[in-house]
Amino acid sequence: MSPPNAGQNSGQNSRLIWIALLVAAVAFLVYRAAFTTPGMSRIYVVDQPVTVSGTLPDGTAQEFSWTVEDEVPLRAFVESQRAIAAGTAAGGAGSPRLSMSRTIGTWFSAFLTLAIFSFLWRDNPLYKLAEAIFIGVSAAYWMVIGFWSVLVPNLIGKLAPATARATVIPGLDEAAEPKFIFLVPLLLGVMLLWRLAPRGQWISRWPLALFIGVFAGLRLVQFFEADFLNQIASGIQPLVAVASEQTISYGESFANIIGVVGTLCCLTYFFFSFEHKGVLGSASRVGIWVLMITFGAMFGYTVMGRIVLLVARIEFLLNDWLWMIDPASNRVVS
């Protein structure tokens, strides 16, 4: 018989073991990052200039320039430092440098990956934190992207091109004239947002009805053409495929027979006007088998997709974060 506080002691021991493991892992990471060469998880970048030609409000042409960062491997950074030390390169702007923001980003990304993985152990606050960050960042990102890629070019750029050119889209065509037809989507957008108002929410139903109608119409036509008519045409295959004038292609003939019979049997399964007995019953049972094989193939493809996502995250942790592997030879310095 175990003592009355055995379970409590076991829980405390387990917690102590986990804390010890966590402290050891953090100590290892700090040591590896700070006291080894070349360290780990450092991101190097090089500034790339971007130039856009535009016009000022008074009509004079002007070039707008800024820089964006392109990631470069450690190898490029080391070679650049050596060239600078040897006096064969000047350094400064345009040469590779350590990006602290991206380095911190990599650490944060690794932390979030591990936090999400921790759900496999059990639900915990770290997982909840990572989940909340993901949802918050996604929503904010969509909002910002929506503003800059939809509202600015498609509304302001069309309704007031001169203002857009002078403020946010300097490269906009000088000959662009205001297109007042775009007041209609503006009005529809305002109507859609009306559902947030305390009264008159019914106003938002009108643009919603228009969107649903337009998309239903668009999809109906395209599905009918691409997925109905064309698929019927693709389904009609010769049951005896001839490779050349003398020979029959047995492999292709077999594939065509399977395709045609499988399609007919699957369609039979979904034919509910008669009881599935006799020939109809046999055909529908074959149809079920064909469907099951299809679902199996889909499951197989899905498993493959999910495993490769896991592989990519493991590669990220071992390669980009810990620098324990280097499959692309980015850190091989001669």
Partner: protein, 286 residues
């Protein structure tokens, strides 16, 4: 043994899967690939390109599926550039442009330094609207695209001067992880204008079964999942001798872990079924 397997904590299976994926990744195991007909067709479509032909790349995926689709994006971009084509990049997904920039930095800048922005390749950026974007640009780019991703006026870009719509392209390549993506490109562009341009798609494993019925009539070539990417790399390496460049065997590398993980999955399914049938014979209900 039966009781042990029946009550096995599922976290041991997670650990096994972690080991199955990590060991081949660390060891760098690679296995030979047999090229499927659909991948071969996709490769052949790009081989038909002549210098100066126009290729529209639609990066319809995000970082969540980049592990599966980035290898084929790398290979397809390299292949089209190697054929001397002019490359037009766009995206129907909001985070697609970052992946375009990543691919350009990985492929165009180091491998094709002679390629000039605006003359040989252009990044048109992201447009929201899903299939509505395709529906519009298939007849007129300028109704939606006033500038490129950086903000340069569309008419100031030399390689856009003679391009009015998607119909002016020779080939459309959609690298797609879902909606909107390859399916919508087939429905709204390729089916509507079947003879004006060719089309190739690369897709995730989840998306492959719904796209397969379009091959080859409506979709001449399809690279399906990471296996398709590995097959494409094999063809590309055989033709252009890229084996010395690790960036072009990313898919092949990831297939090493796939194989071991799949063997584990099969074993788990077999063992799970044996445990289930033994339990049923013994009358165990859960």
């Amino acid at each position: 043994m039966y009781e042990f397997l029946r009550t096995l904590d599922r976290r041991w299976i997670f650990l096994l899967m972690l080991i199955a994926v990590t060991v081949p990744t660390v060891a760098g195991w690679q296995f030979p690939e047999k090229v499927s007909r659909n991948t071969q067709r996709a490769f052949d479509e790009i081989e038909k390109l002549q210098p100066g032909d126009r290729v529209l790349f639609s990066f319809d995926f995000d970082p969540a599926s980049a592990g599966e689709l980035s290898p084929m994006a790398t290979s397809l971009t390299y292949h089209a550039a190697r054929r001397g084509a002019k490359l037009y990049f766009m995206s129907l997904w909001p985070v697609g442009p970052q992946l375009v920039r990543e691919t350009v930095a990985k492929v165009i800048k180091p491998e094709f330094p002679e390629y000039r922005y605006g003359e040989d390749y252009v990044d048109l950026g992201y447009k929201s609207g899903y299939e509505a974007v395709i529906k519009v640009i298939v007849t007129d780019f300028r109704k939606l695209y006033l500038t490129d991703a950086a903000g340069s006026g569309i008419d100031t870009i030399p390689m856009m001067k003679d391009v009015r719509s998607v119909q002016d392209m020779d080939l459309v390549i959609s690298i797609s992880a879902g909606y909107a993506g390859a399916k919508e490109w087939v429905q709204y562009a390729k089916t509507a204008y079947p003879d004006t341009f060719s089309m190739v798609a690369g897709c995730t494993g989840v998306q492959a079964p719904p796209l397969l019925p379009y091959v080859p009539q409506q979709l001449p070539g399809l690279i399906a999942a990471i296996k398709g990417a590995a097959e494409y790399e094999k063809l590309l390496n055989a033709k252009y001798d890229l084996l010395a460049k690790p960036a072009f065997v990313e898919g092949t590398r990831r297939m090493g872990s796939q194989l071991v993980a799949h063997v584990l999955m099969v074993l788990l399914i077999v063992v799970g079924n044996i445990v289930y049938f033994i339990g049923r014979r013994r009358g165990v209900t859960s």
